[in-house]
Symmetry: C2
Subunit: 185 residues, 2 copies
Amino acid sequence: MRADAVRNRAKVLAAADELVAERGPAVSTEEVAKAAGVGVGTVFRHFPTKESLLTAVHVARLERLADSARQLTRAEDPGAALFTFVTQVVDQAATKNAMTEALTNAGIDVMGVTSEAADALKQALGELLENAQRAGAVRTDIGVPELSALLVGASRAAEHAAANPRARERVLSVIRDGMRAHRSA
Amino acid sequence: MRADAVRNRAKVLAAADELVAERGPAVSTEEVAKAAGVGVGTVFRHFPTKESLLTAVHVARLERLADSARQLTRAEDPGAALFTFVTQVVDQAATKNAMTEALTNAGIDVMGVTSEAADALKQALGELLENAQRAGAVRTDIGVPELSALLVGASRAAEHAAANPRARERVLSVIRDGMRAHRSA
């Protein structure tokens, strides 16, 4: 790709990402083009279908999350790093679920297209968890499968309490506290 | 209703309930009739549509859950009572979600038909929670909205870990531990 084509593709992707984060997957190609400052033809050249654009946005979001997890594995306080990541996942969950649903409804094999990013995420998650456990910040009887389930549960719980930010925060603090290394049992 | 009609209705409802618990909402009227030991005509007389039968099953399940919560409010150990109820809700969540989805897809106003049972459940839940908090078993900074969100989260987390019963149990223990009255902060 020529440099300006690469730039345009990135601009379209960034604009679509921002629109999706604000309003969910139901965005039009025209809106994306306008927000990116390019013509509709440019959007179609890089993403021939609405689904290909949404898929690219979804994969990019997962890759960013994996990057963030990897960066957090180098943080000074491994316990705080894990909980920061939990918050990031929970904050993005509503958008992620809406995207997954929209793509699935459009016949996209979401697991297939995201498997690479999901693997990277899982690996970084494992490192974050181990670091936090080694630092004594998180109970040692949970592994990545438990942490993944807790991220799903925390996201759904937060969504349920979304109308009341203070209740939402208390709900998340319950789950965080449960994850901490505990006294006896 | 005559006594045998009442009995037949109850038999149909019980058979449908059991089939739904086993296999989800996609059960046929013929199967229900067979399991109840009545003719298909009897099923249709009490429940003219498949949706009316599923709605009755759904409402009956919620009422049973509310009954169970009310009984648990009189248990000796209020902390254990609350956690027993959490387990009951989580164990029934997959069926409940599938029923809600099936009914919503069939155009039923699920919130509307279940509002009475849901109110009764909410009230019993409030009592269970207060008892457990008064007994010092559960942190006092959460109310029914937080507990409801945690029940949703725990159910989704358990569903996510369903393939591994030991991981599922660890996930639930994390959430239970988080709900307990905690040491300092």
